[in-house]
């Protein structure tokens, strides 16, 4: 009975606090636009060579950070390998096992040893860049703190997808020579139909490039846009009530984005493995 009364008091106090928050007007007016978060302003202006602009934007900085983190991780881990792993080593070993057994081992039937380094490299690079995208870093305009991810940039993901695209056909041609292209259409089909199937297959290969890059890019962009909107809800609604209530929501969205960051790296690596494995099987 007594406990229930205490709970009731807390409930009333909470409601009063929320009502007060609703009455108090928000802080000074600030403009917020999600689109601004993805503008690429050059941090360091560099001359452009022909049509290629070499200016250092925040996407470049995020790429450098991801590469540096991966290199440092690899060096430190390989120097301190122990037979009884520490927690950290165990965590990385689990990811390595996932790349080896879960991605390459379960999808590819041949050429595992040859292509494991590329697929694991893509997996870890995308994973690290996705996770770095969820840490606020001071590279937004005027060195403000903000969220950005190298993989939330179509140029970066398109370059990664292009690697997979090139390696797919390289693997196929290296394995079975020009018979690789013969494998694009079933040999039992009549000639006219065969040409049609060949064209359709060629188009689908190009669409793989598009889907692989746009999937990663759009997932990261959408995640960051939702995070930005949730974090900036107080600015948009000009009210402390909205701010307090939506902080819980933004924590949940953040946790979901951690999951998405991992899943997208996994999907990128596994689709690369599927494409390369498929190219190795064609033509014979």
């Amino acid at each position: 009975m007594n406990r229930r009364r205490v709970l009731l008091v807390y409930l009333v106090l909470g409601l009063v606090a929320l009502a007060l928050l609703a009455i108090i007007p928000g802080g000074q007016k600030q403009e917020f636009s999600v689109a601004d978060e993805f503008q690429l302003e050059p941090l360091v202006e560099l001359p452009s060579i022909g049509p290629v602009d070499l200016s250092i934007t925040k996407a470049v900085v995020y790429l450098w950070i991801a590469a540096a983190v991966l290199i440092v991780l690899a060096i430190v881990l390989s120097r301190t390998l122990k037979p009884t792993p520490s927690r950290f080593q165990y965590a990385i070993e689990t990811l390595y096992e996932l790349a080896r057994g879960g991605i390459v081992g379960s999808v590819m039937t041949s050429g595992r040893a040859t292509w494991f380094p590329y697929i694991a490299g893509a997996f870890f690079f995308v994973l690290v860049s996705n996770f770095i995208g969820l840490i606020p870093l001071p590279f937004a305009e005027h060195h403000q703190w903000g969220f950005y991810s190298a993989t939330a940039n179509l140029y970066v993901t398109a370059a990664l997808a292009l690697c997979t695209f090139v390696f797919t056909h390289y693997a196929g041609i290296r394995k079975s020579g020009l018979r690789y292209f013969a494998g694009w259409a079933p040999s039992s089909a009549p000639p006219v139909l065969k040409q049609l199937i060949f064209v359709i297959h060629a188009v689908s290969e190009l669409f793989r490039l598009v889907s692989l890059s746009v999937r990663l890019f759009a997932n990261m962009l959408a995640g960051h846009a939702i995070l930005g909107v949730f974090f900036a809800m107080a600015l948009i609604f000009q009210s402390y009530l909205a701010a307090v209530m939506l902080q819980g929501g933004s924590v949940l969205i953040y946790l979901f984005e951690l999951f998405v960051a991992f899943i997208q790296a996994f999907i990128f690596a596994i689709l690369s493995a599927v494409y390369i494995g498929g190219a190795l099987e064609e033509g014979h």
């Binding site: 746009v214 999937r215 759009a218 997932n219 962009l221 959408a222 999907i267 596994i270 689709l271 599927v274």
Partner: protein
Amino acid sequence: MNPEAAKLLGAGLAMGLGAIGPGVGLGILIGKALEAVARQPEVSGEVRTNMFIGIGVTEAVALYAFVVALILVFVA
């Protein structure tokens, strides 16, 4: 109609309608995968891997709609 309004309306419609198909698809996909795992728990690892491949391919359709919506709002 005001072109600005048409743009925003189009973006909203593109995202909303474009999410229907992938939503249904993901439901069927994950439901069937769970069913398969429930029937045959020993192949759960293989089913999960293939399920994620399917999720990646299905979900990309919704993301194309998202990209179209972005293009409508910010580029068109």
